[in-house]
């Protein structure tokens, strides 16, 4: 890259950074994205936008393309067609090496947690700092303890993932994804397979991260209860500094938008209230 090109790139990056720092900036944009595995079409001309600090909840039956969408955002899968923007960078044509820079601001929580089973909770949560940075160990440990404290698992820091319950493993996965302070968190069926009480604790973490840390979230799920809970609740700190999850104000509820996928296409897009009121037969079947 010549110095002129570098200067132009710096100016562009600065401009993008300025746009993204404003409220209402689009952090993830899908523009007519399609993907097929052999004969099976998974996504068909999928388009949507995620606004900074907002939540996009992607619903759909198994195999409708929900998890695939998240994998395309993180560059774990590559779309056949269409354009994908993440934090102002077009990512659909980036190499694995170039994608690493984009992933620095993305955190992903996988379906079963995907914790590294040979590492302790501490090593899992601090993985990125331990392995990919030169940050002093004391600082990493401090950050890990802070994050585990935030999700209420401080006492499990030296345990192995196999010693934790399903809900605790998901929360550690959230801690690992949020430890390096990403601006966007992607949740892939974070509550699937959990009992309602444990699922609510995971939902509360999603809400707290969104409302207290300003993280933009994409929540993929087929658990309607959790989807509505995340959309209709908000986290507030009272005078004593204690965090409470309370029913959201109408304005806050508007910041959570639902997408329903059917056969790789969007069959509904709107707020929680609009989804509840929908008379579409497929949505009715899904909601019942």
């Amino acid at each position: 890259m010549t110095s002129a090109e570098r200067t132009r790139q710096d100016q562009e990056d600065q401009h993008v950074h300025q746009i993204l720092s404003e409220p209402g900036a689009p952090v993830v944009v899908f523009d007519k994205v399609s993907l097929a595995f052999d004969e099976k079409v998974v996504l068909r001309d999928l388009s949507f936008t995620v606004i900074k600090g907002h939540t996009k909840i992607i619903l759909g039956a198994s195999g409708s393309g929900k998890s695939t969408t998240l994998k395309i955002i993180t560059g774990l899968l590559r779309a056949d067609k269409g354009v994908v923007w993440v934090n102002g960078k077009r990512v659909d044509q980036l190499s694995e090496l170039q994608m690493m820079a984009v992933r620095a601001d993305l955190g992903m929580i996988f379906q079963e947690g995907a914790l590294f089973d040979s590492l302790t909770v501490r090593e899992n949560v601090g993985y990125k700092y331990y392995e990919e940075t030169d940050m002093p160990l004391e600082q990493v440990d401090k950050r890990v303890e802070e994050v585990l404290g935030f999700i209420g698992l401080g006492e499990h820091i030296d345990k192995m993932p196999s010693e934790l319950s399903g809900g605790q493993r998901r929360r550690v996965a959230i801690a690992r994804a949020m430890a390096f302070k990403p601006g966007i968190l992607l949740y892939d069926e974070a509550t699937t397979g959990l009992d309602p009480i444990t699922a609510t604790t995971v939902d509360d973490e999603i809400i707290k991260l969104r409302d207290l840390e300003g993280v933009s979230s994409i929540v993929v799920t087929h658990q309607l209860r959790d989807a509505f809970y995340v959309a209709t609740h908000m986290a507030v700190r009272d005078e004593s500094g204690k965090v409470n999850v309370v029913p959201a104000t109408p304005e806050k509820s508007e910041e959570a938008e639902f997408i329903m996928l059917k056969d790789g296409q969007i069959c509904f897009e709107g707020s929680a209230e609009e989804l509840r009121r929908s008379t579409d037969p497929y949505l009715q079947t899904f909601l019942s």
Binding site: K71, G107, A114
Partner: protein, 257 residues
């Protein structure tokens, strides 16, 4: 039938392409940062020190059995005193490298395929990538380096132990004097033989580990897939070692002698 053949050829071409891409990416990972030094040391220990017992036992019993069998044959020609010559030449040129490699295939090839395969089916590989780590640099490069360097070291140990096993049989069963045994061990060896015995394990170590990593990374289908990957890694690794032995021997015989 034709469809089956076409599918098989396509599958074989795809696997070869992916294997070559993996090797290319692994070599890029060796010469460019980031290098995960801690993982490299860990793998040297796991592959090298961890395989020592199995290699020692294999070498010892192979050398002993070889001396015992050779003694019977050599007796027919009244050549029992040169048993050391036969044991050392066979161990260093052929049996040491090949048997050590086959033992390593069973031990580390299976282990690598199972470990990486489990990481694939539980999304840990995707988690690594999402956290900004290249799985090839983190998992394949340390194992490849360990395979490349530890296989020759283990083979040398196996050769020595095998020759020692041969001495035990020669001395106490065949009643060949120790001086005679040890002098015939060195008499029969040429520098070319030593080169052969050192070059082969490099190739075998590389083949075993890269095949196991490739099979592990291409695991599909849950725990059943992990089991299948482990079997494939051992079978493919063993066949590849024996095939590579033939081709490398042909090349070395032409080049060295």
């Amino acid at each position: 039938m034709l469809d089956f053949l076409t599918d098989w050829l396509k599958h074989a071409a795809l696997e070869t392409q992916e294997y070559v891409r993996l090797i290319a990416a692994a070599f890029r990972g060796v010469v460019s940062p980031p290098i995960y030094r801690h993982d490299i040391v860990e793998q040297f220990d796991a592959l090298g020190v961890g395989s020592l017992t199995v290699v020692l036992l294999t070498g010892l019993f192979t050398g002993a059995a070889l001396a015992s069998q050779s003694g019977l044959t050599l007796d027919q020609f009244g050549a029992r005193p040169v048993v050391g010559r036969l044991v050392s030449a066979s161990m260093i040129k052929e049996l040491g490298p090949v048997l050590t490699a086959l033992m390593l295939t069973g031990r580390i090839g299976a282990g690598i395929a199972a470990e990486i395969g489990s990481m694939v089916v539980t999304d840990q590989i995707n988690a690594l990538r999402a956290l900004g780590t290249d799985p090839i640099r983190k998992l394949v490069v340390p194992r490849m380096l360990a395979g490349l360097l530890m296989a020759p070291i283990l083979t040398i140990i196996s050769d020595f132990v095998g020759i020692f096993g041969g001495w035990v049989v020669a001395r106490f069963q065949l009643q060949v004097s120790s001086e005679l045994y040890w002098s015939s061990v060195t008499d029969a060896l040429y520098t070319q033989d030593l080169y052969q015995g050192l070059i082969k394990p490099f190739v075998f170590g590389f083949v075993i580990v890269t095949i196991a990593c490739h099979v592990g990374l291409r695991t599909k289908g849950g725990t059943q897939g992990v089991g299948k990957a482990t079997t494939v890694a051992v079978v493919a690794g063993s066949v590849a070692v024996i095939a590579a032995d033939f081709f490398v021997t042909q090349i070395l015989v032409r080049v060295l002698y």
